[in-house]
Symmetry: C2
Subunit: 516 residues, 2 copies
């Protein structure tokens, strides 16, 4: 989920076309890079689409420069963030209270909250929680002489996507770069040598970090599956499977299939895809443990892990049937990824509240809290319980709207407000409407030239990037069985585009090339 | 090249649609097989297309039954066929004489012959020849009580395609079958158990032979490259590369890119793609050895191996420029795959002439000759030097046209004649026109039910298959450095389709499941 790239300072550069491309690359070299990237994407399955034809995933043609120390910092934050989400999700009283303050004008978060309250009051059937998170960061450098800082844009706790495509993209970039570099004197090799960050990569592939996002996330699912099988004991008439909850009209299906295929190839664990509207007719809860079974043919399938790749947006719940399906899943003995608690712990409101040092101290040890706080951008709520404080925040934002982003609670991209729109919206809203938004300090990211490909079209120009670090966590509230970073995602977009999802084509998949 | 599936007895079955599918498979199971095959094809790069979108390669949804002993026999024939082609190609007097008899009405083969004569009279610059061949077979079983026999359809000595896609198709079929089988009681598992050949595969994956076509062919190219580097010595200003000769508008590009990508991943050898029309402007022959170099930027590339994935059809030579390009390549020190001699050794005429035991004995040892002859179908020429013999062949064919296929020399599919068309054509032709054709015994293949997918459409019905065995060979006329089978290709088509290329969508890629 969360395909958006948060905005940066509005650099008003015109997009430039192939023939007039960046970094002095000759048009025929760019054309060659494009053809090879296009075809290697198809050869290795870096694709978008679900029906009979597939398009390459929009992407950057070359690795994108990222500061080495900030990359390491981002990786090191995965484990403490994993713990933070787990503890927030299990502190249900706190979680419900925090979320309740924003649900007045956010019916979707309101229903998620009700669902969580229902499940909590009944008693949770499965204490194990699997987390597959992605924490997204940008580099903040408001002026040239300021030291670049890593700031968190958001923490995705449900349906974090692109792990499979990103893993393949890293391999593809590394292979193409190595190959072009291996032909000294060729126009490709000469062109790359003139780009300082990439010239370093030609001689030292350590600056292109390996990216195990696909296999590492599969290994986490496999670990949860194995724990489930241990807990559930054997029943030969029942096959344990991973249930992947999907949208009926998903376009990013090859990313999901990558996880499915690797989960089979590496762990021999089958995945069954199912959409929320099918749950109530196909699934039942069996026995006092409330095991989730799908009857099929002469046998039945039992869900070991319930892996949500849908359910994060109101669009996934067009009727009561989907909400009933979600409730049935949450009530079951299957290991949810995420549970409703983990889902709520990913809302912007929780992100804003835990940015408060006192709140953060409730959940993580002091040394971890300090590390987490280092990446928090300024975050402000509009709490209805403190109207004078809320008005202060409105005044601050309206005085300098270019310094902030106004974000709704829910995910999905394309809903953030900037500049004059932000100001107008804040001035028009009632206190209750405002309460379902948070205000975030706007990140000013440094730009680098990049070439982005969509279809067969290549555009070059100053670009910014967003780094996502995947994190995997498995625990039951007493024991932590797994807690680590699990690869990365780097998305690149033209610096003048305020919003952009990779699927929507405004941003492209990339990979980092590290520099000191 | 040679996308055709030779014809079989004309079984006049109506194609049947998804809902009414074969082998009693329920429509929802077929639909599930289709979705998974479609998406796993995209995930693993089993794709057709070259521009911004790609379609899955038309394919069979499930492995297709093939007799185990005939599969082993086909594999064992690769090495002797490799030797046969190499020796025919080097026996230039014999080769030119044999080919000359058919060129009267075949201007394309005539120009290939002239080119070979030119190169031979000048003296061949490079004695090493790399062969990447594919010998295509069908099972011949004219009646139910006849023992099935393996008969050769043709031997492709240039541009043998689908090695990369076929390799991935085998892996895909194996993975899906294992996974469906791993969920006992599911409709998929139950459906597979009712198909005897596949039920065996569920319990014993040895009946699904591994297929190393892609890596093994890359290893052969790498071996030739290494020999070239040894011969050529080092010049630091020059980078040795594999030159892949391609059509400017190739649709099967992902198959070619698979070879390119694996050649890089496994051997770190770069491939440069170039079309025949670009050769004379981009390439030069350097020094007395006639090394083939492409100047580029500040350095130059030297062709170690010249791998033809174009040049096999008259359409690849729209003007003199392409012929000049081909001649330049043939005159060079690069290792051709194939040389013009190997190319000519793959003509139907040579296939027909070496089917004569006396001719065959000139080239291979007696024990190999006997094995090769075992797979020869009846082959007949219409030699202008022996008009009474040619008339006998015409009379024989016209008396029972349903028992034969009339084939032109050149490759590419879609040009064969059957039944009444065959009879009419033979009766109309002049002796010189006839001489450019060969008559072949028509193979009557047993049918099995199959499900073929093209786009999102699935058709089921009685089908036949063609097995291709790749062979790789490297030698210089004195030493044999490499001579072995290198994986396989299984194509499936509906039994009522006379001609069908996989790219054209009449046939589909498949994989064999062996039965005793």
């Amino acid at each position: 989920m969360a395909d958006i790239l948060a905005d940066t300072g509005a650099v008003d550069n015109k997009r430039r076309k192939l023939a007039d491309s960046v970094a002095g690359l000759p048009a025929d070299v760019v054309s060659h890079f494009r053809d090879e990237t296009l075809h290697w994407s198809a050869t290795s399955g870096v694709l978008i689409g679900a029906d009979s034809t597939f398009a390459h995933a929009p992407c950057a043609l070359l690795p994108y420069p990222f500061p080495s120390s900030l990359f390491d910092q981002a990786k090191s934050l995965a484990a403490p963030f994993n713990v933070l989400v787990d503890r927030c999700a299990r502190s249900t009283d706190w979680l419900h209270k925090t979320t309740r303050s924003v649900v007045g004008h956010d019916p979707f978060t309101s229903r998620l909250l009700t669902l969580s309250e229902t499940v909590t009051s009944e008693g949770v059937a499965q204490q194990l929680q699997l987390g597959i998170y992605r924490s997204d960061y940008m580099v903040h450098q408001p002026s040239e002489d300021a030291a670049p800082r890593l700031l968190q844009v958001e923490l995705n706790t449900i349906s974090a996507s692109f792990a499979a495509l990103s893993c393949k993209m890293s391999t593809l970039h590394r292979s193409l770069l190595e190959r072009w570099g291996a032909v000294p004197g060729s126009p490709e090799s000469e062109a790359l040598k003139r780009i300082p960050a990439l010239a370093a990569a030609l001689g030292d592939s350590d600056v292109l970090p390996t990216n195990g996002s696909e296999p590492e996330i599969c290994a986490a699912i496999a670990a949860a599956h194995a724990e489930y099988v241990k807990l559930a004991g054997g029943d030969e008439r029942v096959s344990p499977v991973v249930l992947m909850i999907v949208q009926p009209t998903e376009r990013n299906v090859i990313d999901q299939r990558g996880i499915e295929l690797t989960l089979w190839a590496n762990h021999k664990i089958p995945v069954v895809r199912i959409s929320l509207d099918e749950i109530v007719t196909r699934a039942v809860l069996c026995g006092p443990q409330r095991r989730l079974r799908l009857s099929c043919g002469t046998g039945s399938l039992e869900a070991s892990v319930i892996y949500f790749r849908a359910g994060y947006t109101p669009n996934d719940y067009p009727s009561q049937v989907e909400w009933d399906g979600r409730l049935l899943l949450e009530r079951s003995f299957g290991i949810k990824c995420p549970s409703i608690g983990q889902h709520l712990a990913g809302t912007k409101k929780v992100q804003q509240v835990v940015a408060d040092p006192e709140e953060l101290a409730r959940f993580v040890a002091p040394e971890h809290a300090a590390r987490l706080r280092s990446c928090f951008a300024g975050l402000y709520g509009f709490d209805e319980d403190d109207l004078s404080r809320a008005q202060q925040v409105v005044d601050m934002a309206c005085a300098a709207p270019e310094r902030y982003v106004l974000k709704p609670q829910r995910e999905g991209g394309g809903n953030n407000l900037f500049d004059e729109e932000l100001k107008e919206a804040l001035q028009k809203m009632t206190p209750a409407e405002r309460a379902s938004y948070i205000l975030m300090e706007r990140i000013v990211a440094p730009t680098h030239p990049a070439l982005l490909m969509k279809g067969t079209q290549v555009e070059g120009g100053p670009s910014i990037c967003e780094l996502g670090i995947y994190g995997v966590f498995l625990g039951d509230g007493r024991r932590v069985l797994l807690n680590q970073a699990a690869g990365h995602l780097l998305r690149v977009k033209m610096a003048n585009v305020n919003e952009g999802g990779v699927v929507a084509g405004f941003a492209g998949l990339g990979s980092p090339v590290l520099f000191p």
